[in-house]
Symmetry: C2
Subunit: 461 residues, 2 copies
Amino acid sequence: MGVDLHLELSGPGGRRAALIRALREAVYSGRLAPGTRLPPYRSLAADLGVARNTVADAYAELVAEGLLTARQGSGTRVAERAAPLRPAWVAARAPARARGPRHDLRQGAPDASSFPRGAWLASYRRALQQAPNEAFGPGDPAGRRELREALTEYLARARGVRTEPGRIVICSGFAHALRLLFGQGRGGVLRGPLAVEAYGLGFHRELLATAGVRTVPLPLDEHGARVDQLGRERAVLLTPAHQFPTGGPLHPERRAAVVDWARARGGVVLEDDYDGEFRYDRKPVGALQSLDPERVIHLGSVSKSLSPALRLGWMVLPERYVGDVLAAKGEREAWASVLDQLSLADFLACGSYDRHVRRMRQRYRRRRDRLVAALAAQAPHVEVTGIAAGLHAVLRLPPGTERSTCRAAAWQGIALDGLAAFRHPQSGMPAADGLVVGYASPSEHAYGAAVEALCGVLPPA
Amino acid sequence: MGVDLHLELSGPGGRRAALIRALREAVYSGRLAPGTRLPPYRSLAADLGVARNTVADAYAELVAEGLLTARQGSGTRVAERAAPLRPAWVAARAPARARGPRHDLRQGAPDASSFPRGAWLASYRRALQQAPNEAFGPGDPAGRRELREALTEYLARARGVRTEPGRIVICSGFAHALRLLFGQGRGGVLRGPLAVEAYGLGFHRELLATAGVRTVPLPLDEHGARVDQLGRERAVLLTPAHQFPTGGPLHPERRAAVVDWARARGGVVLEDDYDGEFRYDRKPVGALQSLDPERVIHLGSVSKSLSPALRLGWMVLPERYVGDVLAAKGEREAWASVLDQLSLADFLACGSYDRHVRRMRQRYRRRRDRLVAALAAQAPHVEVTGIAAGLHAVLRLPPGTERSTCRAAAWQGIALDGLAAFRHPQSGMPAADGLVVGYASPSEHAYGAAVEALCGVLPPA
């Protein structure tokens, strides 16, 4: 087996005695766990620069002592009863495993039980077998060419994005893209202030605040963000396909208007296409990027479509930003695992991605329908909005009932967020009461109970 | 197959005409490449909210037109001769593939041709099959528990590190660790000024400078860094096992002295254990961290032992830093791919990592011996140092010959660096002439020619 073992030979009495002391210390201190197989005499002797007999003698003495055991064919091992006392500083941090909520209706993550393990493994195997040797060397900070080519084709076909591989930079997800674009000091590509939608992820606002970027909230109405209120900002971050979290698409006139604003002011639009692939009833809304690839940065990831655990996302950039983004990323920091990048390229090219998205779209549509039907039957006074697409719905609540409903949900072990959690603190919009209900997170068998529990905590009519 | 196709139906003439226009535009613009298979009638009809017959009619018309082709059993595809003109802005960035050097003797990367594809795939398969569903959900910013447990065992055994899984944070490699520790603003865990060795990676100095951290160079002598010259700095970054790039281990008295300094001043020692696993002739040098787990941050990665393409590293932290590092990492940014983390945990636990390191150690030792022998035969006046461990050697050159030798090497297509590239610009040490020769990067068959070429450009005696 040949484990790699670090031992210090020092102290009086020759090398054999020193080796015995070192092995004993390693066992007693817990560095060598019970059952661990020790290296063969020859290997350890070579590593330590001592004679083979010295190692053999030391092993023999500790076997005699009962600290090690030797059996024909299975080598020398640490005896099972040699378990050490754990030092106090180890015991101090006992692993207090966090228990998850009883019903998880938080937005943001896909159904973890539906990751396409078989198809992904097939792509990974092909990718690993076909990867050229250079793939295991220092990486291209833009990401693997194979993946950027596959994404160019896929994004054009599925999202209407117009680009080419040289303008795509692979990253670890949306947050990483924001960090690269707004990094501080010499690292930053864009400057604030940045206009954002009045409702959005607080996590993104915090990340921007840490980077020293001021965010300016744009009000929302039934046509999406009020881009007519854009002023002197240099950039605007939008969720055009499906406003997060309120749920509507940006009106076509606003889409045109925001691109006009960017052209007139020399600004840039950041398009967060976080769930663009999941649309149900209405016509697909293509990427805003296609209106002007030189004025829109299109950002996407596999976090909603496959899994956030892969840490794979992409930035589709206007040509003038490519160099700066790569400089911000840093020569040695390819970040995203090259093997995962090659696997995703294969997964896209062989059609597995399309198949998976289609399957999940059907599953999420059924869940949405089930949520809507349950609410219609049990809480017909609660309006459900934002359900034409995505992985979550917004339940509008009577004024003043959001906080108490959230508390009741928490009490029943239901994890979800109220609309207030997404509201920009500087927004002048009147706060609306509502719940953001993610229907993707629970596994299939747990979903029905979660919806029932939710209906039970809604305020009465 | 079911590709996912984004189409906008708009304009005059009804839905059939709009669909035909949309498909035609998609083909002419290049969004639908020749040979692409279109979705079945039923799927596209459902996606667009039109009757199935409408799609069938549109397809039939375009087949008649020659833009699409239909064949029994292979569905409807974009005709091969329908290739569009690529827009000018696409052609403008033709892929100018960078050609590598003829002989790559740069330090820093392992032999990319020796990645253990078979053993890694076996671990990946097991990891993917055995992963619990929650592994595909939002990740723990500390990294997977399975990997932190496997690393605790491995680092204790092979490097003498004393820790437990709760003090390990998985990251994307050494540079990511530096960014997390010295991030600006609210994100920063440690503050400068930071003492560094007078010779080291310029890339790390730049990263720190970008983060606003002043670095103070410590001179080096034959016992390693002069830690007796530490003053009011709050932290010191060292390569105790094998000074990078000059090659010696830190003297035992200095190891003790730097820990004493950290205790007395409330400082912290950052231990960059970049190649601790590759030692050849001398006794293993254990991790400095074992002297005081509360005063030393131990940093390692698989970038030298397996591949930098995996982007997997670890930070072994004193307890008081764990919370701050996790906060700096950010709740949603697990960064390292969860599947790769689980695979590495399996790879460590099943002994594949030890086997691979042992195999590579033998290979690199042979390469080092070959380099030393070639130099002894062809350039006996050139002293080779730093060869007891690691993946590179330092060739000491006569004073004033480094720049011309580097130029001669470049002229012969040999990629390597002179010692000057690693020298801290504020160091008061007299500059020594030398070459840093990495012997790990070339593949086995290319190594001999690289060494021959190197001998050919060395200055005469």
